[in-house]
């Protein structure tokens, strides 16, 4: 771990600044999602007009999208491993697959939002509508940013570098790791959302 810092130049803490910065950002993002989730929870059951959660939720579909996001985290780990091992084909494959899984998740979200709107749940319909869309929409935006980030890493890997005479470059593993941390965080937030927003509705 100290070696990681040394390979990237001196830092005051002994840890690479980029990674420390990403963790600080993720800590703040916890608070961001925390307040949105708190709002959702405090409004739960207080909507005075429908549609209500169980009228619109289709948890089977949401389960599939949850699996997709979960597996994308695993793929991201493999992408980072490939970057560390300096193996370009696996790096491109796993980075691309992670982004693809993210896009699949997003398309499930788009489908779900469309379905809800057709059922009559809009942003301004009720406190359920507003808190739900803002919470899951914010998460979706985070996923979209992650997808763009990963695709940019993928595109970058088609450049030239002395490391690969036949063409191609692999980003610094630290950069891939930092992108990975963001991606895992987005997955972790969804783990919480899925349980608290969707599953809990079927229990209580």
């Amino acid at each position: 771990m100290a070696q990681q810092a040394q390979a990237h130049g001196h830092s005051v803490t002994g840890m690479p600044n980029k990674k420390l910065m990403m963790w600080a950002f993720l800590a703040s993002d916890c608070m961001f999602f925390g307040s949105l989730l708190s709002t959702y929870l405090l409004y739960r059951g207080r909507a005075i007009v429908g549609p209500y959660p169980l009228d619109v939720f289709d948890a089977e579909i949401t389960t599939v999208s949850t699996f997709v996001l979960l597996m994308s985290s695993f793929l991201m780990v493999l992408a980072l491993h490939a970057a560390q091992e300096r193996k370009i084909k696996p790096f491109r494959l796993f980075t691309g697959l992670t982004a693809a899984f993210g896009l699949v998740f997003l398309s499930f979200q788009v489908y779900e939002f469309n379905h809800f709107i057709n059922e009559g749940l809009k942003l301004g319909t009720s406190v359920f509508g507003s808190s739900f869309y803002v919470l899951t929409g914010t998460h979706g935006v985070h996923v979209a940013i992650g997808v763009l980030w990963l695709l940019s890493l993928l595109a970058w890997s088609y450049g030239k570098s002395p490391e690969f005479p036949e063409g191609g470059r692999i980003p610094d593993p630290l950069d891939v790791e930092v992108a990975g941390l963001y991606w895992h965080f987005v997955d972790v937030v969804w783990i919480i959302l899925f349980t608290v927003v969707y599953l809990a509705e079927y229990v209580f």
């Binding site: 608070m31 005075i48 560390q84």
Partner: protein, 273 residues
């Protein structure tokens, strides 16, 4: 940047470990999803808490392995935990403020209306009695005819619809003269005190709307050509027709939330202020 440096940097789990973690996460998620298909209403609380614990475990595994916290400098973990603790603390603080839990801080400062929304009518009436706003010989209440399976929000909506329908269906003959004491109860039950101050009503401390002490004297002078009685009635049925200077147009129409008799009682009460 030789590959040695990078291999040395990468301490910690192997791909095998990550694979097992991924399998574990997938299996655990599959187990969770069972609640979607099985009726767990007999063990609601147990299942809910199990789901939360499972969620925390999944979170921990992703953070520890995929995000590498288990193998990295402990300061990353500390930093992240600071964010988590503040996030959790925010929820707890909000919850205690807005939907207090009996016995915990904040539970003494609920309004009767919030108790009705969050705990139901019975609890609200008991609380109002406790506060001295009602006598045990209880007065009327809005009409919930809700089945048990409805959420509180649905029940409240039903009650409002039923009350509004009742108001519409009745012939427009005035109800019996209003009883100010019953009107005070209506005032409290509907939570008017959350926006309006009334000196004699504990809990009527809201400053979003004008103070109501002295209302009887001034009601007839607010809108030219409108006498006190008409002004009071309009304030409840169509509050945004006239808003006192300096206040926002945020009062919801309240006529539909009460029966004709309750409305008369409320007007009678307001005239005593």
């Amino acid at each position: 940047m030789s590959s040695d440096t990078h291999a040395a940097e990468h301490s910690g789990a192997s791909v095998r470990t990550y694979s097992w973690v991924a399998v574990f996460l997938a299996i655990v998620t599959a187990v969770e999803v069972v609640v979607l298909f099985v009726d767990v209403s007999a063990w609601k609380t147990l299942v809910l808490w199990s789901l939360y614990i499972i969620m925390a475990v999944k979170f921990a595994y992703v953070a520890a392995y995929f995000m590498h916290l288990l193998y990295d400098d402990k300061w990353y973990t500390i930093l992240f935990n600071i964010g988590l603790v503040i996030a959790l603390g925010t929820y707890v603080a909000l919850r205690l403020m807005i939907d207090p839990i009996d016995g915990l801080p904040g539970s003494k400062y609920r309004s009767v209306e919030s108790v009705e929304v969050f705990r139901g009518e019975e609890a609200a009436r008991a609380y109002a009695i406790e506060l001295g706003l009602e006598t045990a010989v209880a007065a009327e209440a809005p009409v919930p005819a809700a089945a048990d399976t409805e959420s509180p929000g649905e029940q409240l909506a039903d009650a409002q619809v039923a009350a509004a329908a009742a108001a519409v269906d009745e012939a427009p003959t005035p109800a019996a003269g209003g009883d100010p004491e019953a009107g005070a109860r209506v005032f409290t039950q509907l939570g008017c005190g959350s926006c309006h101050v009334v000196a004699d009503l504990p809990g009527a401390v809201g400053t979003i709307g004008p103070k109501l002490d002295g209302l009887a004297a001034i009601a007839g002078q607010r809108v030219p050509g409108q006498d006190a009685d008409a002004y009071l009635r309009e304030s409840i049925a169509d509050p945004n027709a006239f808003v006192v200077d300096g206040y926002m147009k945020v009062m919801p129409p309240m006529r539909g939330a009460m029966s004709d008799q309750q409305f008369e009682d409320l007007i009678a009460f307001l005239k005593t202020l």
